[in-house]
């Protein structure tokens, strides 16, 4: 949407369409990057504080000279980021240098380009593709290549273990996630993100907003499966076996430090947002207001979308600080013996439901 509008708006578009396109892409990419950076700081702060409160700690309580940040440690993530940037960049002597440098960027790109199809509000979406949700599913699995590269190029046994685990895990959990999205597509008959959200306007069961989550029991199940698979794709606890710190030290990222490690960190949080965003858009009505007919201007839309995503991110943080970690074969069991049969059954069920209820 934004891309199209910008291209139309630029006066040069007729004369030099290629140049215009590049300018527009940069104009879109920079704000998205800034958004990710700021959001990551907020999410890290949230994670620190929420985990501390869950664990009866107090969390960060004031950083910086003279800037005690109202004694809530608001500048802690900034300090963390600064520390990571200023740290020495170490590349192991026996590492495959080119791939080692390349890996964090590939991981980040995978998370980054998925943002271009996320519908932040009625009007704010960088490109409303007609295959938007398919595009997100496709590009978000790009990250696994980066993780494998990281594990391989580090020339470290822990990294290799982490990378192999991660590859198996992400590839497996793609399937239940995609199958759950199939349920959505079946009901809405569109793959465009805005189309899916528009489908979810109105009221269902008399009082609930017509979100797909509440539409019928099968979609509810699909939402749960999609969200849990999403958690697994982000490598978050209880599915954090690729970087299981008590087993594999730091998994695929063992040898990384400084800015390169920060990129992995950033992409983890960006991935969390993508997963939450897609779940919010596909199942929780995206920018639709929870009270149908009220607060549905584009500004409120942005607010609703962000709060839904943030709620799901909070759920992920909550999971992380509650559960133990699964073992690698149990992880596969849950996916192949649990989620995939249920999501296949789900597709069948939704088909029947659609035929009967309509």
């Amino acid at each position: 949407m934004i891309v199209d509008q910008l291209i139309d708006w630029f006066p040069t578009s007729a004369a030099w369409p290629g140049l215009t396109f590049i300018i527009v892409v940069i104009l879109c990419a920079v704000p998205v990057f800034l958004f990710i950076a700021v959001y990551a700081l907020v999410a890290i702060y949230g994670e620190l504080k929420i985990s501390s409160f869950i664990q009866d700690k107090v969390g960060p309580m004031g950083q910086g000279v003279g800037l005690h940040a109202w004694r809530w440690g608001l500048l802690q993530p900034v300090a963390d980021a600064l520390k990571l940037i200023l740290k020495e960049d170490i590349i192991p002597s026996s590492a495959d240098k080119k791939l080692f440098i390349l890996a964090p960027f590939i991981v980040f790109i995978g998370a980054f380009i998925a943002f271009s199809a996320l519908p932040f509000s009625q009007t704010i979406i960088i490109a409303d593709m007609n295959i938007g949700i398919f595009y997100i599913l496709a590009v978000s699995s790009l990250g696994v290549i980066g993780i494998i590269l990281a594990g391989w190029s580090s020339n470290n046994k822990w990294s290799l273990y982490g990378a192999m685990r991660s590859a198996a895990q992400i590839v497996s959990y793609e399937i239940p996630a995609a199958l759950s999205i199939v349920v959505v597509i079946m009901l809405t008959s569109t793959m465009s993100m805005q189309g899916i959200i528009q489908y979810q306007s109105g009221v269902v069961w008399g009082f609930l907003p017509n979100w797909l989550l509440f539409n019928n029991p099968f979609t509810f199940l699909a939402f749960i499966i999609f969200f849990i698979s999403g958690v697994a794709e982000c490598n978050r606890t209880p599915f954090d076996i690729p970087e299981a710190e008590s087993e594999l030290v730091a998994g695929a990222f063992t040898e990384y430090s400084g800015m390169r490690y920060a990129f992995f960190f950033l992409s983890e949080y960006a991935n969390m947002f993508v997963v939450s965003g897609v779940a919010a858009a596909a199942f929780m009505g995206g920018w639709q207001s929870p009270i149908p007919g009220m607060f549905d201007t584009p500004g409120w839309g942005l607010f609703w979308f962000m709060s839904k995503s943030m709620f799901l991110i909070f759920m992920m943080i909550w999971f992380r600080w509650t559960f133990p970690r699964l073992r690698v074969d149990q992880l596969m069991d849950v996916c192949w013996k649990g989620f995939i049969p249920i999501s296949l059954f789900n597709i069948f069920g939704v088909g029947i439901w659609y035929l009967i209820v309509g």
């Binding site: 664990q55 606890t237 008590s246 970690r325 073992r327």
Partner: protein, 373 residues
């Protein structure tokens, strides 16, 4: 460690690794994720405690015993002084005995809290770890109140204890027990009965009783295998025969008897039993009496030797003391329970996955200070 085949890989877990509970190195031969052989390599913390003891007087040994099992220093002191008193035939006053029991059982709870919390950390649950440490902290406060030290107490002396109890001590411990007992439910809710935790630990690393006995495994690890054996009950030392408590054993509630979950849960139940002992001891604690009266002026045990076993939180802690009549021990050998527990690791974790090895190692609850001595 045999020949490593082409598709196998040698992996060094440690000496610096988050979940080796100290400075332990495990040389693991793996086939993919499956572990085919483990060789624990120990000695990184070795400081020749026994040679130290030969060169120090009997009083000076007590601070060294603190540092062997630094998680349960009181119990280590206790074992040593029980052995020494038996060798010197000292009868200590009742009040001292009760104080010692209270301290030992408090430290048992503290030690189990650490073991269970760190076990949660090993299987990936961070929060129970901090909950348990929070409560362990209260026990350490009680110790600080009593003797001024939080971790390495040097509290029990041959024939007595170093400090008398402060005023209000009994109420403080009662207060702690009232606070602590409901917390056990919370631990169970967040960790013990969690399905993921059960999946990770049930049926994993099964230690059959006969293997455990042959390997000299003792304490909660042995009881986890279903053997009802507790030195406090079966060979009572000090005044443990005056208390009424149960010896919990593993029953294979969620898996096979002797699996990691059983070893974990036995510790959980033991904390309840320790609390029971504490309540009885606090009730019967003699109100006054000099805690120093039986301390001999000079510790010179008669010529002879003694082998005294006591039940530390990790199991069967024994001291073999040979005296030649001089103020320094001729030979002092410590039989550490964690040493025997670690030796069984290879036996029970072959064929499991890398993650399970961490879980099994955690369930054995080793302290490297005691293994390496």
């Amino acid at each position: 460690m045999g020949i490593v085949k082409g598709d196998q890989m040698v992996l060094n877990i440690g000496p610096q690794h988050p979940s080796t509970h100290g400075v332990l190195r495990l040389k693991v031969v793996t086939d993919g994720e499956i572990v085919s052989d483990i060789e624990p390599i120990i000695g990184y913390l070795h400081r020749c405690f026994e040679k130290h003891c030969e060169n120090s007087t009997y009083e000076q040994v007590i601070p060294f015993t603190d540092r062997c099992d630094y998680i349960a220093s009181m119990n280590n002191n206790f074992g040593y002084v029980v052995a020494m008193e038996k060798l010197m035939e000292i009868k200590v006053p009742d009040r001292v005995e009760y104080i010692r029991i209270i301290m030992a059982e408090l430290n048992r709870i503290a030690s189990h809290l650490l073991a269970l919390g760190v076990y949660g950390l090993d299987v990936g649950a961070f929060t129970p770890f901090l909950y348990m440490f929070r409560d362990r902290e209260r026990i350490l406060d009680i110790f600080e109140l009593t003797c001024g030290a939080r971790l390495l107490y040097n509290y029990m002396w041959v024939g007595g204890v170093s400090h008398d109890l402060p005023v209000g001590f009994v109420e403080t411990v009662y207060g702690f027990l009232d606070y602590f007992e409901p917390k056990l439910k919370e631990y169970n809710e967040i960790l013990t009965y969690n399905k993921i935790f059960i999946e990770r630990t049930a049926d994993v690393g099964v230690l059959p009783p006969e293997v455990a006995i042959s390997y000299g495994v003792s304490g909660p690890n042995l009881r986890g295998s279903g053997v009802k054996w507790d030195l406090r009950k079966d060979e009572p030392y000090s005044i443990y025969d005056r208390f009424d408590f149960d010896v919990p054993v593993g029953e294979g509630t969620v898996g096979t008897t002797g699996d990691c979950w059983d070893r974990f849960y036995v510790r959980m139940l033991e904390m309840i039993e320790s609390a029971k002992i504490l309540r009885q001891a606090l009730k019967d604690l003699p109100q006054d009496g000099d805690v120093h009266q039986a301390i001999p002026k000079k510790i010179r045990p008669p010529k002879g030797s003694i082998y005294q076993r006591t039940e530390s939180p990790r199991g069967d802690l024994a001291y073999y003391i040979i005296s030649d009549g001089s103020p320094q021990p001729y030979r002092l050998k410590m039989r550490s329970p964690a040493f025997t527990a670690l030796s069984v690791l290879n036996e029970i974790s072959r064929g499991w996955m890398l993650s399970d090895v961490i879980a099994i190692l955690g369930s054995l609850d080793i302290v490297l200070g005691e293994i390496d001595r």
